[in-house]
């Protein structure tokens, strides 16, 4: 068990012993190694605001005193801090605002006003003050830390990430930055990075349930299931988990196939007052994941009759479909739209159902119904484009994607889809240029880099070294940004197959490890093993491929032929 996991365990036991004392991050910070590590800024967590406020009251004085900038109005600041310790938040705010009236550029006061606004659950307002402080002094670490945390709380993860990346280079802020950045990485699927960062956060993680949940999630994803299990067990023992924490915990436990623990976490959440919403749907999802389909379906039907909400009806539709009750499934999907006609998911799910059962025209009609309701829906336009593209109606798909791009300049899927459509329309130079600019607009989006690399590779006219190098570069970037995407490893491995065999093999092995069903990677890897004298390994892979192909062929046999075995001479 790593150091961090040990710390987690200790924190878990302490938390269980003090289950009535929800100290959140501060509890963890008390046990950190040095005083400077207690400058943890605002504790995070969408559900941890109350505990975050309490934590801030313990932490802020240290943050302020550690500021390098001398305090001009030390007396006023002390009064303000006194108000805060006494819980007189409004008075504290007024005090620090008063300081700013006298000196609008007072960094410490700007930081305090922002922090107090966060305590009052006004993170959007707080950002204004943090940014003002940073405009005056970009090196003012406390403001940057608090800004990053506020952005994190608001879900502005890209902006938070940018600030946290800067803070990684500041020794006194590194551990906190690692903590929050680790959580962001975990939520964006960059699990190897997430694990590394959260471990770099040291003991800070132990005081942050949300960080621990992220840690468990990412440990599971990188294959460290045992460690993930230890963290989950420690979390289960904590008494300071909020409703949203418990819901997240249930999700991570379910992903780790620890279904009993997942259900137990949901039960604890249900016992809270107020309980988080949507627990019924989550319970159904966990039952289904655990293979208890009948129970899941029965529960879903019961709840849908009692309190039909869109998510529940969507889940019910899925379960009915799996059980072969297609009519009931359609009915549930239609009801989902009726109860939430403004919600895009309803239209998307029903249209996907139609595509699955080979009625793309109806799928498009449903999407158009949604667009009538929500003409500026990016998601509906993208879905429409994809449905049209699947039917090879590329001109119409191009229009849909172009409209979507016009709506959301900050989202990459429509742009990438547009480029793919342009390729199908044989407007390759425009497609490549679209993707190239996409990589500049979304430098951290692994998928854009992957699609660009793929398109460059496929559009080569024969052996073009320049384009090969460009393709290779962007496959590598895609992998750096998401080290769990098997297709990127496969494509890079294939590109390198003849010039850097050893590295090609490593990439293909990674692809196969991540997705053992990726036959293309397995085949390419098998060929390279055979080429490089690893006959046994190559032959084994080829045998597996052959067996898979045979199984698929047998499964596709029309029912009337399945019982017929070839006679000796047939």
């Amino acid at each position: 068990m790593g150091t961090t996991a040990q710390a987690v365990s200790r924190a878990g036991r302490r938390s269980a012993a003090h289950s009535g004392n929800r100290t959140g991050a501060v509890g963890g910070a008390e046990h950190s190694r040095s005083s400077r590590d207690r400058r943890s800024g605002l504790p995070s967590g969408s559900g941890g605001v109350a505990s975050a406020r309490r934590a801030l009251l313990r932490v802020l004085p240290l943050t302020i005193l550690a500021a390098a900038v001398p305090l001009i109005h030390a007396a006023d600041s002390a009064t303000g801090l006194e108000h805060l310790r006494a819980g007189r938040v409004d008075e504290a705010l007024a005090q620090f605002k008063g300081v700013l009236e006298g000196n609008p550029d007072d960094l410490a006061a700007l930081n305090m006003v922002g922090a107090i606004l966060c305590i009052r659950n006004e993170p959007a307002s707080s950002i204004v003050y943090f940014e003002r402080a940073l405009r005056i002094s970009p090196e003012f670490v406390p403001a940057r830390k608090n800004l990053a945390i506020a952005q994190f709380d608001l879900g502005r993860l890209q902006s938070a990430e940018a600030n946290l990346l800067e803070l990684l280079g500041v020794p006194e802020a590194r551990m906190q930055a690692s903590l929050f950045l680790g959580m962001i990485r975990s939520e964006s699927g960059r699990h190897s990075d997430a694990v590394r960062l959260l471990e770099d956060a040291g003991d800070l993680i132990a005081g942050q349930p949300r960080a621990l949940i992220a840690y468990a999630r990412s440990l599971q994803q990188v294959g460290r299931s045992n460690n993930a299990g230890e963290v989950l067990s420690a979390l289960q023992a904590r008494g300071d988990l909020t409703g949203p924490d418990l819901v997240d915990l249930a999700q991570v436990a379910a992903a780790a196939e620890r279904y009993d623990e997942a259900l137990a976490a949901l039960e604890r959440a249900e016992a809270l007052d107020p309980a988080p919403e949507g627990l019924g749907v989550r319970r159904i999802a966990i039952l289904a994941a655990a293979g208890q389909d009948e129970e899941a379906l029965a529960l879903a039907r019961m709840l849908a009759n009692e309190v039909p909400d869109r998510r529940l009806l969507s889940r019910l539709a899925g379960l009915e479909e799996s059980a072969g009750n297609l009519d009931a499934s359609i009915l549930a999907l239609r009801r989902a739209i009726q109860v939430a006609p403004e919600n895009e998911d309803g239209y998307i799910e029903l249209s996907e159902f139609c595509v699955r059962y080979r009625n793309p025209e109806l799928a498009l009609e449903i999407l158009d119904l949604g667009l009538n309701r929500r003409p500026a829906s990016y998601r509906l336009l993208v879905q429409k484009g994809i449905t049209l593209g699947q039917g090879q109606r590329y001109e119409a798909a191009r229009k849909a994607f172009s409209d979507a791009v016009g709506l959301r300049a900050d989202h990459s899927v429509a742009l990438t889809a547009l480029a793919v459509t342009l390729i199908h329309l044989e407007e390759v130079p425009e497609a490549l240029e679209t993707l190239r600019t996409g990589t500049e607009r979304f430098p951290e989006d692994f998928y854009v880099h992957y699609v660009y690399a793929f398109a460059v590779d496929r559009s080569r006219a024969g052996r073009d070294r320049g384009q090969e190098a460009l393709s290779e570069k962007h496959f590598r970037i895609a992998i750096k940004l998401n080290d769990r995407f098997p297709s990127a490893y496969y494509r890079l491995g294939k590109l390198l197959a003849e010039k850097e065999t050893a590295e090609a093999i490593r990439n293909l092995e990674a692809a196969v490890r991540l997705d053992p069903s990726l036959t293309a990677a397995k085949y390419q890897l098998g060929q390279l093993y055979l080429d490089s004298g690893r006959e046994e390994e190559g032959a084994r892979l080829m045998r597996e491929i052959g067996e898979t192909k045979q199984r698929e062929l047998e499964e596709e046999q029309m029912p009337q032929f399945r019982a017929v075995k070839a006679a000796p001479n047939q």
């Binding site: 699947q390 052959g546 596709e556 029309m558 070839a566 001479n569 047939q570």
Partner: protein, 574 residues
């Protein structure tokens, strides 16, 4: 948006077609490089009508297909059945479920030596209505006259050449009658045990029963949303067969003991028997439709080991099956080894497997430039030097299998043109869109094709089977092309047809290997005289490796002639 990203990936990445049971990757064509601008000396003109090739190949109805058996069509052959030194033509034919027109039959055309042919089918004893698939030509009884084996849906037929212009059906006498209805597909005479007698390999496509197969549009039987006939995937597969020649005019099935029956099941099509690993023993490659293709490696002891996956010729570079139909075998890369070109379905590339010399192959499709053309369903094919510049080119015939599609999806016409890629050297090919003559653009629903020199003018002509139409006879009128050499081999110790003999021709700085084969392309058999374009070279050195192991070297052979080489009775250099 994760599910959208998955769907987006599916739009971009190649995938097996959904719906109908034919494998195709739904890929886009590769971007074309700039044209070389080099002139192409070969010019093809369709002279079939004036040559007297008038009978259509009947194969199911012309405007719709209810069953897969009506679509796959058949092959053709160049053969010199009367040993007069001029190539005659055999064009196979099928039938119709509702009854074929009177006189429907495969046709044998005797070469009149003046650019015309006479239909001698009836006098030759070949008039017969049959769902014929493929033909292989070889002298199985070593009497000096080439015999015919025709595979079919129903019963295969072995015709022994009587030497007097007639053939006799000796299927039963030879022990080749099958007690059950089978669907014979590709077939090849091959002396797999090197005993001097031609044995016989027959691939089988699938087990088909009109009463048991669903009709068009049932279940998943649709293509891009249009109801079409079912198959092949979903239909029951069949085994392939190897028959050993007993040396007395009879055959014995040895599929089990030879290891052929152990192979993974698939939908077998064209058979190409040749020495792919250069060990002096013939191997057998079977192009399979929508299932991994097979390569049976000869173990020299009467048995075979199936090594298609290990040798890199079963699947494409993405590890996927393709709709393997036709096979061209020749030394495309001028490395002294035999490479394989295989044809596939629309929205997919054909594939070029280049031999590394040890019998392992790499997919060089993208690097070669072949992937610029993905529009057609492709069938008969050959790697042949069409302009005599010393570099083997690629030709293939095309034609869709779903006549019903055209009305709904006009971008997939039923009748489509022939395709030529010229060899630029260095492993690169360039598609010729207009440069090879008017006959290339003519649209038919073609299937098999065979390559040979019917007018003995030193180039390669092409015979093409067209469904429900007369064949095309593409006469090559080379203008200013290079020198050439044709090599006719006669076995003495080895089988009389010299099937399996390897000739390596060295001309200038180049060297090219070819092998006498009894089937390639799609279900077809080429002129057994090996054709070498020599470019500007005026002579060549020929090295012959006979099927039973003897070798011969002929130095300084003058260009522009047909050379007949008889196998020495004692292995020597002469």
């Amino acid at each position: 948006m994760h599910s959208s990203r998955r769907e987006l990936l599916a739009l971009l990445a190649p995938a097996l077609a959904s719906g109908q049971g034919v494998a195709t990757r739904n890929v886009r064509a590769q971007r074309r490089a700039e044209t070389s601008g080099r002139p192409f000396a070969a010019n093809f003109v369709d002279v079939a009508a004036r040559a007297g090739l008038r009978h259509p190949t009947i194969y199911g109805p012309a405007d719709h297909k209810d069953y897969i058996v009506e679509t796959v069509g058949c092959g053709c052959a160049f053969l010199d059945y009367d040993n007069d030194g001029w190539m005659d033509l055999l064009v196979l034919s099928g039938s119709r479920v509702a009854g074929a027109p009177r006189g429907t039959s495969s046709r044998l055309y005797r070469n009149n030596r003046n650019g015309t042919f006479t239909d001698v089918t009836e006098e030759a004893g070949l008039l017969r209505e049959l769902w014929a698939s493929a033909v292989t030509v070889g002298d199985y009884d070593n009497d000096g006259y080439d015999d015919l084996f025709i595979s079919a849906f129903g019963q295969n037929v072995l015709y022994r050449n009587n030497g007097d212009g007639t053939f006799e059906d000796v299927t039963e006498a030879a022990g080749l009658v099958d007690p059950d209805t089978r669907w014979g597909a590709g077939c090849a005479f091959v002396d797999y045990d090197r005993d001097g007698h031609l044995d016989l390999f027959v691939s089988n496509y699938c087990r088909f029963d009109f009463d048991n197969v669903p009709g068009p549009g049932m279940g998943t039987c649709n293509w891009k949303g249009v109801p079409v006939h079912c198959g092949p995937r979903g239909l029951p597969f069949s085994r392939h067969s190897l028959y050993r020649n007993n040396g007395d005019g009879t055959f014995r099935e040895v599929s089990d003991e030879a290891g052929i029956a152990k192979a993974r099941p698939g939908y077998g099509m064209t058979v190409a028997a040749a020495d792919f690993d250069n060990d002096g023993w013939p191997d057998i490659y079977v192009a399979c439709d929508s299932t991994p293709s097979l390569l049976f490696r000869n173990r020299h002891d009467g048995t075979f080991e199936e090594v298609g996956l290990l040798r890199g010729v079963a699947l494409n570079e993405d590890g996927q099956e393709q709709a393997g139909m036709g096979v061209g075998v020749a030394d495309f890369s001028l490395s002294g080894d035999l490479d394989i070109f295989k044809t596939h379905f629309a929205d997919d590339t054909n594939i070029l497997y280049v031999n590394d010399g040890s019998g392992r192959f790499r997919d060089r499709t993208l690097e070669s430039g072949l992937a610029v053309e993905v529009r057609y369903v492709c069938w008969g094919a050959g790697i042949v030097d069409l302009d005599n510049d010393g570099l083997p080119d690629i030709f293939y015939a095309t034609g869709n299998i779903y006549p019903e599609i055209e009305a709904k999806l006009p971008e997939y016409p039923f009748k489509t043109p022939n395709v030529v890629f010229r060899n630029l050297g260095g492993g690169r090919l360039e598609q010729l869109l207009n440069e090879a003559g008017p006959a290339m653009a003519a649209a038919h629903s073609s299937r098999g094709c065979a390559f040979g020199d019917f007018d003995n003018d030193g180039d390669v002509d092409i015979l093409v089977v067209n469904l429900n139409e007369p064949p095309s006879l593409l006469r090559n009128d080379i203008d200013g092309g290079g020198n050439w050499l044709k090599v006719k081999l006669v076995g003495t110790v080895s089988n009389r047809s010299a099937i399996g003999a390897r000739v390596t021709c060295a001309y200038g700085t180049r060297s090219q290997a070819q092998e006498v084969m009894s089937q390639s392309s799609y279900y077809s058999c080429n002129d057994p005289r090996l054709h070498f374009g020599l470019g500007d070279e005026t002579s060549a050195t020929l090295r012959v490796r006979w099927p039973r192991g003897g070798t011969q070297v002929l130095d300084d052979v003058r260009a522009n002639q047909i050379v007949t080489i008889r196998e020495p009775t004692e292995p020597d250099r002469s």
